[in-house]
Amino acid sequence: MKKYIEGRVWRFSDNVDTDQIIPAKYLVTGDRRELAKHAFENVRPEFAEDVREGDIIVGGKNFGSGSSREHAPRALLGAGIACVIAPSFARIFYRNSINIGLPLVECDLDAGDGDVLVVNFENGRIVNMNTKSAYTFPPLPDFLMKLLDVGLIENTKRKLKR
């Protein structure tokens, strides 16, 4: 996993649910790129077209609520999202994201659409390059950091070998 990323912000509000991230009618494939074509289609129709590799999503509290669909973080990874930052995450979305390698940061910060953030995972610091404000966040517990790094698939393979 990268220690440091710099990316452009897509700003969302509280309680972004997984139906918003990927509507149920598209749940007929597990393919990231295919799912990414419909990410946020109902609420931010420009997202799929305008999103760029390395962009960052900044959400409000309870990001990723609702359905267990792993298709949601898959769609975000397929769209090139480098990291999601929010004050809190829904638990299944949280697990799914860590398992498939989408970094999540628990942090409440001010950032608008298009702001550029620098996120340093090593020292737990975020700087909004537009406002020059800095924020800190607690690192993931070791167990989750390893899982994010190795990925659930590899982690399971190792478990099976033991």
Partner: protein
């Protein structure tokens, strides 16, 4: 310890566990449906092993009978996985229903068990005293291979509802009332435990509605201490042994909430969050569709409540009412009790057991600007169709009363 702590401790081979700890726990059953199955099977093939057959349950419910070629391919992947690995716990069209109803009817869900499912409403089995919770597809694949999964031990919250409920007040109204009070993230990462005379007086069906919607408050699980109603249900159907788990007298709860059942009335959750609740009698909104079904409220008790309101009446000419029994056996019971005839005589449309209109991709899809009063669990933006359509969550009696008048109606107000 609380019920969740005890179940996690037992399954992690530990004497005790504490909130926030991360533990590896043995899983009793892992379930996937046709939507979450495909990604799980693709991941599973990377492991180069065979699934633990006795723990794996496969249920076709979201997009079957296949609605289009893509969903046909998806459902086929489950059929092929079941055959390839000789998994007998595969419930296909004609033998199936909403996955959670099947898990409960077929004796997989039982007190003290630790069950995971790649569907967020897996928390439903808390009504039988199980710790059951939703997970993702990759994790489900991992559990099929290893039989284990990691958990962060949740903090527990205690909800007590005492007193007598009014005639048309159901489990749905209790949980909507609670979510309205604590909000959609009021139980984030937490285990909800439900107590009190009103909970004890509820049918198992109504308790399942409460546990089912624990996820709408963000909870990991929503557990109700099992009693005779649960043990009666399990007779002749439970697979294997089970042992009920109860909280210790000195169990520690992060929060305690107390409610008076007598103050609860039929509720409606307005778009676009389950926390936007208001008494059904205080909202005046025209509807285009009335939906009765789902893992939340598609059981025989729910159909009876709706049929009692609809008997001898007609669905409003501007409304289409859709009824989807939650399983094959619910459908058969409704047939033999004459409920299906009541619905059809009232001009409702009755369909075979699936997830139906709940998630807006299969049938009963709403057009722009249309409104549906629904016995389901989510009213998110675009949940049942067009992004500018609206879903109002309510209990089955409110759905039926609203279908008759064409506007959201408290059954008490039907003259």
């Amino acid at each position: 310890m609380t019920i969740a702590e005890k179940i996690l401790a037992t399954h992690a081979n530990r004497n005790s566990v504490s909130p926030k700890e991360i533990v590896d726990a043995r899983i009793d059953y892992v379930m996937v449906n046709d939507v979450t199955g495909l990604p799980a099977f693709e991941v599973f093939e990377e492991f180069g092993t065979t699934p633990i057959r006795e723990k794996t349950v496969l249920i076709q419910d979201h997009y079957v009978p296949n609605k289009d070629v893509a969903s046909a391919e998806q459902a086929k992947s489950m059929r092929e996985f079941a055959r390839k690995y000789a998994i007998r716990k595969h419930f296909d069209v004609g033998r199936s229903g909403v996955c959670h109803q099947i898990m409960i009817e077929h004796g997989f869900a039982a007190p003290g068990r630790l069950i995971v499912g790649a569907d967020s409403h897996t928390c439903s089995y808390g009504a039988l005293g199980a710790l059951s919770t939703g997970i993702g597809s990759s994790e489900a694949a991992s559990v099929m291979a290893t039989g284990e999964l990691w958990f962060r031990v949740p903090e527990s919250q205690k909800f007590t509802v005492d007193g007598e409920l009014g005639k048309y007040v159901m489990g749905k109204d209790i949980i909507l009332h609670i979510i309205g009070d604590i909000g959609v993230s009021g139980s984030l990462y937490r285990s909800m435990e439900f107590y009190g005379s009103a909970i004890v007086s509820l049918s198992l069906s109504d308790r399942i509605t409460i546990s089912n919607m624990a996820i709408e408050a963000g909870a990991k699980c929503g557990i109700i201490p099992p009693d005779e109603k649960v043990f009666d249900h399990l007779k002749d159907r439970v697979i294997g042994e089970y042992s009920p788990v109860y909280a210790d007298k000195d169990a520690e709860y992060e929060d305690i909430f107390e409610y008076d059942a007598a103050e609860m009335v039929p509720m409606v959750a307005k778009p676009h969050l389950p926390e936007n609740v208001i008494p059904a009698s205080e909202i005046d909104v025209e509807i285009d569709q009335a939906y009765l079904g789902s893992c939340t409220n598609g059981r025989i008790e729910d159909l009876r409540s709706a049929a009692a309101v609809l008997a001898g009446k007609k669905v409003h000419p501007f409304v289409r009412m859709i009824v989807v029994p939650a399983s094959r056996s619910v459908f058969l019971e409704a047939l033999s009790e004459g409920l299906i005839k009541v619905f059809m005589d009232a001009d409702a449309y009755v369909a075979g057991p699936t997830c139906g209109a709940c998630l807006g991709g299969y049938m009963g899809v709403l057009a722009e600007g249309e409104r549906c009063v629904s016995s389901t669990n989510r009213n998110f933006i675009g949940r049942m169709g067009h992004k500018d359509s609206e879903v109002y969550l309510a209990n089955p009696a409110v759905v039926a009363a609203s279908a008759i008048t064409g506007r959201i109606t408290d059954p008490e107000d039907l003259s």
